[in-house]
């Protein structure tokens, strides 16, 4: 393994006012053997073995306005011409080894700050086999999650506890009872609700699991509940164990709160599916020429070991376009190291009506489809909300229109009446 032949390939979208070939060589130098002046130890032999290599450069066009501030114009230039390009750079594996934290310092480190660039975004990553050996990836994935939730042939349908924060033990108990009896497959805590002083995780787990077990005794169906165990790293395992001991069957973690390293740490000890929430992701991706594209991010998340990963949903309440959501779901469903299956999680602004379009555009049922308000605010109640979601997917799988199917399905009809106008 310890050869310069095993390489990581990173694809970047860049923008630069400098000569493109010079700028990309600065990137490759800065992120491997170079510094701003030549230093004695940078021999040809060392460079040969350790330097990053520009593999390809594909120009994409030219603009007059920089995407980001702070880029340096060429000497003597009074105004800039900003060239955009897709650039592939490869890094020797042996420079950092199979370590997500040290991979990040190389492929996503100080290069964002280089003034040779007025834009730089990590678009994709190709990782060699040693990473698969070091990180086992999703433990449950799609099949394992289906097995635990006992749902086949359609999406796993779920909701989010709302209001996000503030429910006390009695209110939560009542709500979970209703959700569990409603025939839902899945419920998750909101990312804002983890281990708050007013209602600690330990107590929440007890209340929730009592109701889930009680409902399972009656219905024969055990709700999958993703407890938000996000916390300081030295609490993650303890929190996981609280859930496991109480008979829980899923944990949720805010990926960017505990870091990919925190997720990988949890994965090593976890016996439950890890529901990966990507809050804070907007800060990393919303500027089109900065940060990271979801294609690269989801690979890192799968490497770290999440089993479910939020992708947003169609017509979400956030800035993200439907095209981006569809691409994200496809990325999640594309094998990595021949596997590493992760279940994409559609959520935000979802209701029964988004099922048909989701199926048409994504051509899969291997998703979790979560509706918060879209289930909890259904005019005939939560159970009707859950039924309406299943009906939406039944319509999709039957190739019928929403209205056609709703004619004989009252819960779907009610959902259209309430949410169809948005």
């Amino acid at each position: 393994m310890d050869t310069a032949d095993t390489r990581i390939v990173a694809t970047y979208l860049v923008e630069t006012p400098q000569p493109l070939d010079v700028a990309v060589e600065v990137l490759a130098g800065e992120q491997s053997t170079g510094t701003f002046v030549a230093v004695p130890g940078e021999t040809d032999a060392l460079r040969e073995r350790h330097r990053a290599r520009v593999e390809s450069v594909r120009e994409l066009g030219v603009g007059r306005t920089p995407a980001l501030p702070g880029a340096k114009l060429p000497k003597g230039a009074s105004e800039g011409v900003y060239v955009r390009a897709e650039v592939k750079v490869s890094f020797p594996y042996h420079n950092f080894g199979a370590s997500i934290p040290n991979l990040l310092a190389t492929v996503a480190g100080n290069l964002y700050e280089l003034r040779e660039f007025s834009g730089l975004r990590l678009m994709d990553l190709e990782l060699p086999e040693p990473f698969a050996k070091a990180y086992p990836g999703p433990q449950f994935g799609i099949e394992g999650t289906r097995r635990l939730a006992n749902v086949y042939g359609r999406p796993i349908i779920g909701t989010i506890v709302k209001p996000s924060v503030g429910l006390g033990p009695d209110e939560l108990r009542e709500l979970v009872r209703e959700l569990a009896m409603a025939g839902l497959d899945f419920v998750k805590d909101d990312e804002l609700n983890a281990n708050p002083p007013y209602f600690p995780l330990q107590e929440r787990v007890q209340v929730v699991m009592e109701e889930i077990e009680r409902a399972a005794d009656k219905t024969g169906k055990k709700l999958m509940y993703a407890f938000n165990i996000t916390d300081d790293v030295d609490r993650l395992i303890a929190n996981h164990d609280i859930v496991e001991k109480a008979g829980g069957n899923c944990v949720m973690v805010s990926i960017n709160s505990v870091g990919l390293a925190g997720v990988a740490y949890l994965r090593k000890h976890s016996h439950l599916p890890i529901h990966g929430h990507r809050n804070q992701w907007g800060a990393m991706t919303r500027s089109p020429f900065l940060g990271m594209e979801f294609r690269a991010y989801q690979k890192l998340c799968r490497l770290a070991g999440v089993d479910h990963l939020h992708t947003n949903g169609l017509h979400n309440k956030f800035f993200e376009s439907n095209e981006s959501v569809i691409r994200s779901v496809q990325d999640c469903l594309t094998p990595m190291f021949g596997g590493y299956p992760v279940m994409p999680v559609l959520s935000s602004g979802q209701w029964a009506g988004t099922a048909i379009e989701s199926y048409r555009e994504m051509n899969t049922v291997d998703v979790m489809h979560l509706a918060g308000g879209g289930i909890m605010a259904h005019p005939a109640g939560v159970a009707a909300g859950a039924i309406s979601m299943r009906q939406g997917w039944e319509a999709a799988l039957a190739g019928q229109s929403l209205e056609e199917y709703a004619a004989a399905h009252v819960e779907l009809q009610q959902a259209i009446g309430k949410f169809g106008q948005n």
Copy 2:
């Protein structure tokens, strides 16, 4: 503590095409009790106890172009008017408790994605006392670092091992010997060099510490060396222990690689100063209307427990302006919870000549001043490079110009000749 009166105040820079008051209420709602439709459980009592509150809104102007894509125009509008404002929002402490990961999910979570905004940046954070109880902060800080390095009355002067990656045991041994004998105060690994397969940390520590101890026997001065221990979380403590057992006196960690949670975890177990490297920070801050301002970031880093924190240096090779660097140093030197002292680290493009301007603008010697090429590429060698840096600061403290002082100090003169033309 468990009352709605203890609050966290977050200051945001926002930009919105929506009516400003509506947009900021969406932010406050989304990050506490609300969702996109009213749900049954969101009672007045719950809202009263748990809802985030808009504390102030200060308009900053109006533009015609959105800073970020994906914002929703008001109904019927064909083009946007984008209002910019500084907004303070307070969150009840009891919604998440003294937990950095869960604080992040609230103050820096899904709000970046809201389509009500065409720009959103976390500028500052005011944290209540319970955070100080939960997180002890820097263990060594400025005084502890000075004590270990035995440097008073001037900056701690140091360099970075260059080339960043690729040196083998013999080459590194020779270099460290030279650096240690040169009278430098401090040396750090590059962030690209952590625990690579071609030369694992364990072996690097052994080689480096042998040379440091040998030099200390001769010179009476023990070099402070920050070993880059960045790694998977379950290796962090082990890596720290390798350094400590070998007699090392500093560890370095890539903050954004292990996450703030990873840093806090290391801090709880560490017996050594933690040198906080902020690579990847550019991705979080370079888009002016997205991500985070350093003022907020450095507070989070200090809370997590770094003793040293990179701030960039004047005339650095990155995109950051001198004004921003100066502000960053001032932020680091501003007490937090009445203390939490962190030592700012000036680096990137530094050499002896940047000392005078740094002192004039920052008015402090409580910094680490690191020069990579500026020491290692000095024409008369590393020792002369180190001497030239001290001379730069002597000139600054004596109130002399660089040229004046250089007249009688040859190493400084040589440094000017080599680096003064950049």
